[in-house]
């Protein structure tokens, strides 16, 4: 993260320099897209969320507090947008971390890509709130404090959710192995 440069880019944006916003897009489109993709799994949905995220960032840039990290701010918008998108999905597509796995058979529990596929399947079965902490921690490699800032939760709650999420994922994968 080149976070030291972000306040300068924001200042330029607010001063009317549209190219500065393009700099922010270039810098953050990849992580924002990946957060959305891991949360939603559908690339088109992730693109829509990424686009909406940057549009809202543009719209509300004047309200950004430069005392906080810009990436925390824009990731927060991205996470909220993914939760909005998930809320609009049909109930059948909703997920529960408590339900047993039914779809993948033992043949999917092989090494390499199939194991990765099983892990991604398991991620989609836990609740969005738990999934978001896993993604911020293990995909975006953020600290607990950054995650707390983004999710606007106490660090202790973030940690508790992450532990719960890992436990559920482990149980999901164990069920796959024994299915």
């Amino acid at each position: 993260m080149k976070e030291d440069d972000d306040p300068a880019l924001v200042r330029r944006c607010l001063g009317g320099d549209r190219h500065a916003f393009e700099g922010l897009v270039l810098r953050y489109q990849r992580p924002v897209f990946n957060v959305a993709l891991r949360m939603l799994r559908e690339p088109q949905d992730a693109m829509d969320v990424a686009q909406t995220t940057f549009m809202k960032a543009f719209e509300h840039l004047a309200s950004y507090d430069p005392n906080h990290r810009f990436y925390s701010w824009i990731y927060r918008i991205a996470v909220n947008e993914t939760l909005n998108a998930l809320a609009l999905r049909k109930p059948a597509a909703q997920i529960s971390g408590e339900e047993p796995d039914e779809s993948p058979g033992p043949e999917r529990q092989l090494a390499g890509e199939q194991a990765s596929q099983a892990l991604e399947d398991a991620l989609m079965r836990i609740t969005p709130e738990l999934r978001s902490v896993v993604i911020l921690r293990h995909v975006m490699h953020l600290s607990y404090q950054d995650m707390a800032d983004i999710l606007q939760l106490p660090p202790k709650t973030v940690k508790s959710r992450l532990y719960s999420a890992r436990q559920l994922l482990r149980e999901q994968l164990l069920r796959c192995e024994t299915a």
Binding site: D48, M55, K90, L169
Partner: protein, 228 residues
């Protein structure tokens, strides 16, 4: 969190957050309990696999589509600022307000004393879009926006659906029901503007629930910037 202390130790170890005393305690438990060793190994492998999930390169057109969607004018200077033309939604909103949209409404529950449907001429009002949610999954597509003007809050719907959509707008104790929104055929997204006169100027969030044949098919929460 799990109520077994050894699991908290294992998670903390994975995160590199054990102090010397905790590390010694975990080592003691690992030696004493094969099951704890298994759990630890499972969780370590899980976290390693999660850490190894590949980052995906965004589609090449993403940057262009983001930049193309930005308004041609500059960035708003403040939350309450407004510079026209702005969002494409905003232009759409102004057109709808200017034209005066007819809204067929019913109330679900107690009608707020001052709640009214939109459809008033609003040429003198300067609306500010507070939030927009795109509807891109489920049977209802399009977008819904929360705005504020001199008359208070309002919601603009631009919906496309295979059948008429009933909408519940709720915030706190207020509920407003709008029947039969959305175009089922033809190009474009028909728009409907609903003023939320009875919802109060301090409203922070509005929940919109979409119903088809009486069944919930989606929802969205619109927030004012003050609530974020």
């Amino acid at each position: 969190m799990d109520d077994t202390p050894h699991l908290a130790l294992i998670h903390a170890e994975i995160d590199g957050e054990l102090d010397a005393r905790q590390r010694a305690e975990l080592a003691r438990q690992l030696l004493a309990e094969p099951q704890i060793r298994t759990e630890r190994e499972d969780l370590r492998q899980l976290c390693a696999a999660l850490d190894a999930l590949p980052e995906v390169e965004p589609p090449a057109q993403l940057r262009a589509s983001i930049l193309a969607a930005l308004p041609p004018s500059g960035i708003p200077r403040s939350r309450s600022g407004w510079s026209a033309p702005r969002w494409r939604y905003a232009a759409l909103l102004a057109g709808v307000l200017g034209a005066g949209a007819l809204v067929f409404e019913t109330l679900d529950g107690t009608r707020p004393a001052t709640t009214e449907a939109a459809g008033t001429m609003a040429a003198a009002r300067v609306p500010v879009t507070l939030d927009t949610v795109r509807l891109n999954s489920g049977p209802v597509a399009g977008r819904v926006s929360l705005y504020r003007d001199s008359g208070g809050l309002g919601v603009v719907f631009a919906l496309v659906a295979p059948a008429p959509v009933d909408v519940l707008i709720t915030s706190g104790e207020h509920t407003l029901r709008i029947n039969a929104l959305g175009r089922t055929t033809g190009p474009g997204e028909p728009t409907t503007t609903v003023a939320l006169r009875g919802f109060g100027t301090g409203t922070q969030a509005v929940t919109v629930t979409f119903l088809m044949d009486g069944r919930q098919v989606g929802s969205a929460t619109l927030r004012s910037p003050d609530s974020r």
